[in-house]
């Protein structure tokens, strides 16, 4: 336990530094994008496995229950910011899981397995380019494709609810391809 504790402290210090640097960098970026709700899919720069796993390991060794906020909104913000829970992104008019979507869901499943006290709502979202009624059905497929994959990774299906929002709740109201890409997603929301 003691060595784990020490390791945690070291990792925490490293993370704090990383977060501080990240904060500095993002504060200059914030001028352009004042309200990034979640990171867009990084097609050119897939996250290196080492950095993906580090926070996940860290969480598993942390006595998580104390550190995690009670407020559901705050918890979800933290889980997304720290990359414990990651949304899956989709191609236009498709509910097929891309490699990046699988990676994101793998990371999420690791955290969900370590934190079994939480349930999950998988929200299916679409960009505004399709028609509204069809997109509600497409969003349903996206949500379910993400749920199915999480179940295949060992998450109990009873923990996961799905909900399609179609194009009703865009994350980015812009009309660029980058904005559309952010809106084609299965958004993971933790519940108690």
């Amino acid at each position: 336990m003691r060595s784990t504790f020490r390791k945690s402290v070291v990792v925490a210090a490293v993370l704090t530094l990383a977060l501080a640097l990240g904060a500095c960098r993002s504060s200059t970026k914030d001028v352009k994008a004042p309200e990034p709700p979640a990171p867009p899919p990084q097609e050119t720069e897939p996250a290196a496995p080492a950095t993906v796993e580090q926070p996940a390991d860290f969480v598993q060794e942390e006595p998580a229950s104390e550190a995690l906020p009670d407020d559901a909104e705050e918890l979800n913000r933290m889980a997304q910011e720290k990359g414990w829970i990651r949304d899956a992104f989709y191609e236009y008019d498709s509910s097929a899981l891309t490699d990046q979507a699988r990676e994101a869901l793998q990371v999420s499943s690791t955290w969900l397995k370590a934190n079994t006290q939480y349930g999950l709502i998988v929200e299916g979202h679409c960009d505004e380019r399709g028609t509204e009624q069809y997109n509600l059905a497409l969003g349903e497929r996206r949500a379910y494709s993400a749920k199915e994959y999480l179940v295949s990774l060992g998450i109990d299906a009873a923990r996961i609810k799905t909900q399609s929002f179609g194009e009703e709740r865009p994350f980015d109201s812009g009309t660029t391809e980058a904005a559309y890409a952010k809106n084609r997603r299965a958004h993971l929301v933790l519940t108690r």
Partner: protein, 432 residues
């Protein structure tokens, strides 16, 4: 006051007082009852009503005279003849101006109610073809105007106009914070817009029951998507438990006995149908692709829907039992929102053309299509019960609003302004 009580207030008092057998105007003009382009119209003069003290012109103009002339002009049965300025209007003056008919209107107050007397005079013979008296509270004056316009159409064509029909739609105007969509209804011309749901959530895709008493829609109010049926005045509401997920695009069969909708089992969306009382849900399609947006043919024998089984969303038709599926849309890269015209001859739908959506109309027999051209994206058409107009949503102004247009693309009118307004559904002819 509810719509129904408006109607009750008007109708018992409306009575045909005189009907002459001398229908000169009818025999002189060959009327195409469909009023299609090129049809000869009946030339009618409509002077401003004679007002008895203390009725003020300002209190009559917007609530009565404007909607009356708007409705009569829309009908295409009548052409409104301008009367020469500076002369006191009379049937003789109207005759000189080329009119065949003269609509003589007089408005007075009786207690708190308006009384409108309407006489349709044949300027040739000077006799009244139609004489009726209507009475209502001041709030229902517009409905008197719409009732008079309907009565004129019934007199000449045997069929009422659409002036007492309603359009249901969805509006964001109640949003504060996260976007809220509630179901609204309005009169055929955009007047009298009122909210009938209060989920303070997302309510989508309203659809009228054929008798005009209820509206079925999808709500996110319980943290899932559910079908609800609400009375047209919003006073009562009931959830329909289909037993499956999604429950989007609900639509009544023409006999009102069933509701087709999109249901989902294990993420697979298909077209389902359920009895209107919420029993006996059954699946009509069984395909692993996306199925969406069902619509009944006007005789109830067929159902159109959208499917991605070919790779892109396209329109298909099947019989109402789910067999004999065939693809009908081939123009456009993304087609959805099909709706059948009341006579069953045309299908209007949303068609993706070069990255924008346009309303496309298909002749069912020949499968020929044409587009109602417009700027921006134009989606979710719905037919007027007379088949003479379509309402749809467009973002051409920068915000989503509802517009009315003739199937040939002419006479476009914007019907909404407040907030963003989408998903219009025009009622059937509501039984009074």
């Amino acid at each position: 006051m509810t719509i129904r009580s408006f109607v009750r207030a008007i109708l018992p008092i409306a009575a045909a007082l005189a009907l002459t057998g001398n229908a000169t105007a009818q025999t002189q003009v060959g009327v195409d009852i469909y009023g299609r382009s090129g049809a000869q119209s009946i030339r009618i003069a409509i002077p401003f009503p004679t007002l008895a003290q203390p009725v003020a012109a300002a209190s009559v103009h917007e609530p009565f005279f404007s909607p009356l002339t708007r409705a009569i002009a829309y009908s295409e049965i009548f052409g409104i003849v301008a009367l020469p300025p500076g002369k006191a209007p009379s049937p003789a003056v109207a005759k000189e101006a080329g009119a065949q008919l003269y609509l003589d209107l007089a408005i007075s107050l009786s207690g708190a109610n308006y009384v409108v007397e309407a006489r349709l005079i044949d300027v040739g013979s000077g006799s009244a073809q139609l004489a009726r008296r209507y009475s209502s509270s001041p709030a229902a004056l517009t409905r008197i105007a719409h009732t008079i316009a309907n009565d004129l159409l019934v007199h000449f064509t045997g069929k009422p106009g659409v002036f007492l029909t309603q359009i249901a739609f969805v509006s964001t105007r109640d949003t504060s914070g996260q976007r809220v969509k509630e179901v609204y209804v309005m009169d055929w011309d955009g007047s009298n817009q009122r909210r009938i749901t209060s989920h303070k959530s997302l309510s989508l895709a309203p659809c009228w029951s054929p008798d005009g008493n209820r509206i079925v829609y999808t709500s996110f109010g319980r943290g899932s998507t559910d079908m609800y049926v609400v009375s047209r005045d919003g006073s009562s509401r009931q959830r329909i438990d289909s037993g499956v997920a999604l429950n989007t695009s609900p639509t009544y069969s023409p006999d009102g006995s069933r509701i087709a909708f999109v249901g989902s089992q294990k993420g697979n969306t298909d077209i389902w149908v359920i009895d209107a009382d919420g029993k006996n849900a059954r699946r009509l399609t069984n395909d692993s692709s996306i199925e969406s947006t069902p619509a009944w043919s006007s005789n109830g024998r067929e159902i159109s829907f959208t499917s991605s089984r070919s790779g892109t969303p396209q329109i298909y038709v099947m019989d109402a039992e789910g067999t004999s599926v065939r693809r009908i849309s081939f123009d456009g890269e993304w087609n959805d929102d099909a709706v059948w015209s009341p006579d069953g001859e045309l299908i209007a739908y949303t068609s993706g053309v070069k990255g924008f959506y346009q309303i496309r109309i298909m002749n069912v027999a020949t499968q020929k299509t044409w587009i109602i051209a417009g700027t921006g994206s134009n989606e979710q058409p719905s037919w007027a019960p007379d088949g003479r107009s379509i309402v749809f949503q467009s973002n051409r102004s920068g915000k989503w609003q509802i517009y009315r247009v003739k199937p040939d693309g002419t006479d476009i009118v914007q019907l909404t302004n407040a907030g963003e307004n989408t998903a219009p559904d025009w009622s059937w002819r509501i039984k009074q």
